[in-house]
Amino acid sequence: MHRILAYLDEAVTSLWRNRVRSLLTMLGMIIGSASIITVFGISRATTSGIASTFGSFGTFPVVVQADPAQDYPSIAQIHYDDVRTVARALQGITPWVIPEWNRTYLTTFGNKHDYPSVIASSGFHDDGIAMQQGRKLTQEDVNSAAHVCVITADLGAEYFGTGNALGNYLRINGGRYRVVGVYSNIRGSFLNSLVGSSTVAIPYTTFHRDVDPSPPDYILIYAPSGTEETAGKLAIAALQRIHGPGAKYVTQNTADLLKSFENVLNIVGVGLAAIGGVALVVAGIGIMNIMLVSVTERTREIGIRKAGGASRNDIALQFLMESGVLALVGGGIGMAIGVLVTVGGASLLSQQLGEMIIPYAFIVSLAVGFSIVVGVLFGTYPALRAARLAPIAALRA
């Protein structure tokens, strides 16, 4: 053990003697390691952020709509009453089948007005989003087609400032709706914009009866996880029984969307990491290069050591230790930079994408592992070259 420490001491001393050169050599490792860590750290953190934010929504709906790419879209038009038929077809799977429209309406409170998107909602499913004030819509609201609404935090601030929104009446497309709840802001503003940061939710029964009697744009099915595909197929079958087998429908599963989003992120991450890997290989070549120079410069020293009884292993270990220290210190500094960039990047991105988990253990082991591999891999050839020098040739140098 004291042998290893002595070699380590020797290696550090020798590297310190050529500190500018050592630093320049390490630069490659620093850049390579920092970029790999940043890329992996941020892509993993982003994935976790998106997953956790999506998770807070609870169940995602399967969206069923008439295929817009068919010859006669009008024959496939979903009617309001179709929803009940579809719901009956899905009885064994889920009770949560609702119609949805994609509309914006002039909405006023006093002299303030805006055009938020007005969505039909139900109290059937828990959307998992926290409330800032009041409550969510209930089944009672839906059954009685009540004139009540739940608004997003942005909209609440727009109409009511910091004051109490509950109990006030919003005028939507001419009708009066009592505000019963205000959603909290979703952590990821990116998802806010996906869902709509200025949205008014009213019971779908009320929407159909008093806002717009026209046919709904989609049917939303909140099916338990794992049954989404079956639910979509059953829904399409039910619709085709009504509209004929020629009517075409498409389903879109938000959970799948999330998965493909994660896949894209992973692919991008792997691609970027490959570039970081190239940087590390270049860094390794730099280490190998400088070690070869060092072996040449110190040929005489190697001869002296060999005459003094050093074996091949002794010499190889001495040089391997040097390349190892170069790689580990460079990789360590790179790791520190990479972690800082990851933490900074994640805190910036989390405003957009929600709460993130930075995989510290993963990136630290990644950095250390890569550094050791690079140090040993690229240090071996120079070390063996040093070890194989013939003692007399080395002494004559």
Binding site: A6, R305, A307, G309
Partner: protein, 229 residues
Amino acid sequence: MSDAPVVALRGIVKVYSTGPLELEVLHGIDLTIERGEYVAIMGPSGSGKSTLMNLIGCLDRPTRGEYLLDGIDVSGLDDNALAEIRLHKLGFVFQGFNLLGRADALSNVALPLFYAGMAPGQRKARATAVLAELGLADRAGHKPSQLSGGQQQRVAIARALVNDPALLLADEPTGNLDSATSEELLQVFRNLNAVGRTVVMVTHDESVASHARRIVRLRDGYIVADAPR
């Protein structure tokens, strides 16, 4: 310690081949050196004396022939085994001192002990003792550049002796020293021999060789004379 001769060479041939060219430098050397001898190997340049010295010092391998060093057949050993032999059986003193420039005298002397796997504390004690024997106790912390030529060569001798080798090999040890310092240094070798050290010295200088008790003369790869002085 065995009763075998320290060096026993039988029919040693050394051929250097560079590409298609083969150059036989030693043509069957027979040489025996007993324990406690002080031998000078002499010859003009090109006589093969340095080659012979490298073979005796296990820094190189003979092409043919048998070499018993302290009773051990070393002619067929591989690099690692030869390193082991150099470590325990041999001490070298070179013309150019060959000290590690950035290590102090003590560390230079302790180098073979490091490769022998001795613990740091013991290394320091042993190296200090040997340095003191050579009158350099107060120079232990000096770098070679802070020492005179004679002092540097004495550090090299201390390093050669630190592992208590069977044979002390010196290659033109006074070649880089002025005559007064040379004289002092040769006295060191004589003293070492007087207490039983086996010393082999390679030189081309008659006055240096005259300190030895036996002179082996080489010419064109043959031993042409071998006689006590």
